[in-house]
Amino acid sequence: MVILETEHKQLNKIIGRKLEIKELEEILFSLGYELESAEGDKLRIDITTERPDLLSTYGLGRALRAYLGNKNDEIKINKSNYKVNVKQPAKEWMNTAAAVVKGLKLDDEKIREIIRVQEKIGGTFLRNRKKGAIGVYPLEKIKFPITFTAEKPEKIKFRPLEYQKEINGKEILEKHATGMKYKHLLEKWEKYPIFTDSKNKILSMPPIINSHELGRVDEKTTEVFVEVSGRELKTIDMALNVMISALVGIGGKIYSVEVNYGNKKITTPEFKGEKRTIKTEYVNKIIGTELKTNEVKKLLEKMNHKVVSSNPNSLTIITDPLRTDIWHDIDIVDDIARAYGFNNLELRMKNVESTGETTRSVKVKEEISKLLIGLGYQECFTLMLTNKETQFEKMNIKEPGYVKLGTTVEQGINMIRQWLLPELIRVLENNRSAEYPQKIFEISHTTVIDNTKDVGCRDVLKLSIVNCHSNVNFTEMKQVLDYLFNTLGIQYELTEVEHESFIKGRNAKIKHNNEYIGNFGEINPKVLENFGIEMPCTGLEINLTELFRL
């Protein structure tokens, strides 16, 4: 979600109708957006990320205008002689598209809107400037033709926006706030992209920052040069269209720019949608409606698509040139459904025959839980994410191989749990003020390394039980084990074993069919001390995946 900050009156002017807040809210909701707040004239609207074209007052106004049945004028592009020459651009940042916009009436608020739109397109559609970046310059300060090229960072020298003096490309990444923020994008490149004018003055160093001298728009500016540069031409063309449309909303008239790549010349911007043929039958099959072709036509027009020809069964359209989210005819069908209104559709449930069925793991868990709850145990849910200190160090055992995590936002997480017992002991640690006896259990998954799997590890369903009270002892836990295995009809054997988490001579290894499936015993006081628990405990852990061959 991205927020569009706009003004109610301004929006209504573009819509061409006075839309009350309530009505606006309902229309936005049915189209998939949300009026987050309305305070006086100020509106905040939640827009989903696939629609950067709605991130300006003009963009949203234009969409609502069409939805309410008023045609939008096509955005007119005037011919001009402005030229951008592309000369040995950085291989990571090869493309550019540009336009000139005249007749702007700017004030502080409008300048802020331009910057907001620029930032939001950069943040969403251009993936935080990874795919491209937008630059806006006052036309009067620069001399055409412009050159798009690249230079070694040390050789790039200019005064970046809102910085006190001239510094080089490398220094911008180290010292300028925006430079530091986007440093990761280009620090490994040999040459950094730059725009220069015919007097060889630097306009900007994309995707980082404009020149303070040549690239600073203020309220006196009425004419601007807009460029988008980046990796793929298709993407930056779209970004340019969206950016330009925002300027049209503040009175801008658009002039084209010729971009000369040496081997080819293109003229931008091009408000050219895509031609698609939409079959009425396809639309009805997806949505489940019985719409007629002419009804589909109306719905398409509500979504700003231009119907260029039609026959009884299909329509040929030119898609809205500002749309960046149309990959497949299905996306057009979705537009039609939104225009129709999801909530206007009659619900139905096609009968799809199948029988319900759960898994053996679920059944095993269910049966054992029932038995333990019957014995007075409280079920717990601990986190799968934990740390090796809890899982091994505090449990007084050596660190085996385990599933390590990379960078984590939350401190104190560095692995997926390998056994449940330490996590249940942590529950005791945090509940020292709750009444005793504390008898808890958990049945859940743990993860162990397994290089035979495509994901390098395997999930194992385990059961762990903990008793904690002043009279706790080995016998009490052994009774539970005995009860469980007897009622489940499973044979088991116990052997003595040395396990440092337990008291020596008071713990056992559990075997079934000669396979090691678990441990239980009195918890080593050293472990209790590590967790700050001053009440004796016994613990049990059984591998259910192994025991039941899950």
């Binding site: 939104r338 449930m349 799809v352 994410l385 984590t408 936002v409 939350e410 997480i413 509940n431 998954h445």
Partner: protein, 510 residues
């Protein structure tokens, strides 16, 4: 039965024993000495009797000051300050000499110097080293017994502090700080019979009533001739701690039952996934923001990709749409990105594993309730892991209307009948929508279910030609709402609140 008779009948054996004794003595410690009752038994009986209005309990706390081992030593040898003064009565000595002659420890000497200087009993003469000289005041003090010394005598066998003057009390307190005396507290209970109590005592109390009905009493039929003691049915009883299922498990079971009733089969899949199954397999673009480290836990390791043929088909739909009729994203698919191991960020990873590995044929209905992970910091409403519920239906002829119909049915089964839909965006479904349910109790719309129809690009690599509709919801949010728990940390993880888990109310779902 008269009131008195009724009370007599309710008396516990301990009460019966204590009551007659109160006629002669009402001080607990003395009753202990003169009867077979133990202190704790008297305490309990006295409390019960008070609850019945038969006695009044008065607790008095008396403090007794006594000498410590130090104190007794000083009583014998004199207080350190006196010993200090005595050694320098006729001579000027340095610290070391005083210590030896007066047999004082370092601590004692240091404490003395402060005290003696404050009172001007000594003066320091600075030569090469500090030496101490007694003053005239010092000499006069030495001649008489100080208040402290007099008190030491008085406390020899211990004495109740209440008998001392305020001035003496202060000195005793000073001495206590110097570890010369200590104060013991002694609680005494005075049990006084009320008017009703006095009446009851007149009754015959040593009647032989049946306490617990035992197998012996049943066998020897003693109950036929005897009366049962009546119980005070209103008296408080200790709390029980029972075994209970976890509220989240209850919610899981509740959702599972809905799915099973509707004929869905349950799925299972791994917690650690390759980016391929978690993202690429369903056409999530390789540069999607959700893939970034701030959102996803990576293992910084590579896993294995499935069969080449499938990887190729998936790569194609990303690059140019393959045979799906889509333009594709127009970039070069990177297998290294797909190989990255991560903790699954949604259960849809398992859905697509089923598409890729199990050759599911329509008609089919599947569901999964599993844990998923997001690289987030922990707070009252966020955990880095939580449960997601997901269901899908694959069949010829399913439409947007059916998706909405099934979602509504699902809501209905959860007891929510008023719902509305809002279109949304999701990279692997089109259309996508959020379904809001109206919570009557809260009086507001709540978004619980997210749903959509899988995109052709997402299904094409698996040869699925029929529509697949799917929906999902977050379990914790639902459980928190059902169980009125505002902090998810009380429910899940090491910080689980055992008290809440034990005592939370059995809630009607919605």
């Amino acid at each position: 039965m008269t009131e008195v008779k009724k009370i007599v009948n309710q008396l516990h054996p301990l009460e019966r024993k204590l009551l007659p004794l109160l006629k002669f003595n009402n001080i607990q410690s003395e009753i202990v000495k003169n009867s077979k009752l133990e202190e704790v038994e008297i305490t309990r009986a006295a409390q019960w009797l008070e609850a019945k209005g038969l006695v009044i309990n008065e607790l008095t706390i008396t403090q007794t000051a006594k000498l410590t081992d130090h104190g007794r030593k000083y009583l014998e040898k004199g207080l350190p300050e006196k010993r200090f003064l005595r050694t320098i009565k006729n001579t000027i000595l340095n610290l070391e000499e005083i210590k030896q002659k007066a047999e004082l420890s370092n601590e004692e000497v240091n404490a003395c110097i402060g005290l003696l200087r404050r009172n001007n009993y000594i003066e320091t003469i600075k030569e090469k080293e500090a030496k101490f000289k007694i003053t005239n005041q010092g000499i006069s003090v030495l001649e008489k017994k100080s208040d402290e010394e007099q008190l030491l005598e008085k406390l020899k066998d211990g004495a109740k502090t209440e008998i001392f003057s305020d001035k003496d009390k202060k000195i005793i307190e000073e001495l206590r700080k110097r570890n010369i005396t200590r104060t013991d507290e002694n609680k005494e209970r005075k049990i006084t019979l009320t008017k009703l109590g006095k009446e009851i005592v007149k009754e015959k109390l040593d009647v032989n009533l049946i306490e617990n009905l035992t197998p012996e009493i049943l066998k020897n039929k003693e109950w036929k001739d005897k009366e049962f003691r009546s119980y005070d049915v209103k008296s408080q009883v200790p709390k029980l701690i029972g075994g209970r299922g976890h509220p989240l498990q209850e919610t899981i079971d509740y959702i599972r039952t809905i799915f099973l009733d509707m004929g869905f089969k349950e799925m299972e899949g791994p917690l650690v996934e390759t980016a391929f199954w978690c993202m690429d397999s369903m056409w999530i673009p390789q540069d999607h923001p959700a893939r970034e480290v701030q959102d996803t836990f990576y293992l910084n390791k590579e896993g294995k990709l499935p069969i080449k043929e499938l990887v190729k088909k998936v790569a194609e739909v990303h690059e140019n749409g393959g045979k799906s009729g889509s333009k594709g994203y127009g970039y070069k698919f990177d297998e290294n990105v797909a190989k990255q191991l991560l903790l699954r960020t949604h259960t849809t990873a398992t859905t697509f594993r089923y598409f890729g590995e199990r050759n599911i044929k329509p008609p089919a209905k599947y569901f999964y309730i599993g844990r998923i992970f997001r690289n987030e910091a922990i707070d009252a409403t966020h955990l880095p892991e939580f449960h997601q519920v997901e269901g899908f239906i694959m069949d010829e002829g399913l439409t947007l209307r059916d998706l909405m119909g099934y979602v509504k049915e699902f809501y209905n089964k959860m007891g929510i009948n008023k719902i509305k839909f809002k279109p949304t965006y999701n990279p692997y479904t089109e259309s996508s929508m959020e379904a809001y349910g109206y919570n009557e109790q809260l009086g507001k719309w709540i978004e619980l279910i997210n749903s959509g129809i899988f995109r052709p690009e997402a299904l094409e690599p698996y040869g699925i030609k029929v529509p697949v509709i799917a929906w999902g919801l977050g379990l914790e949010r639902l459980a928190m709402m059902i169980h009125e728990q505002k902090d998810v940390r009380n429910m899940l993880g090491a910080t689980s609140d055992l008290r809440w888990l034990r005592e939370h109310k059995v809630t009607k779902k919605w």
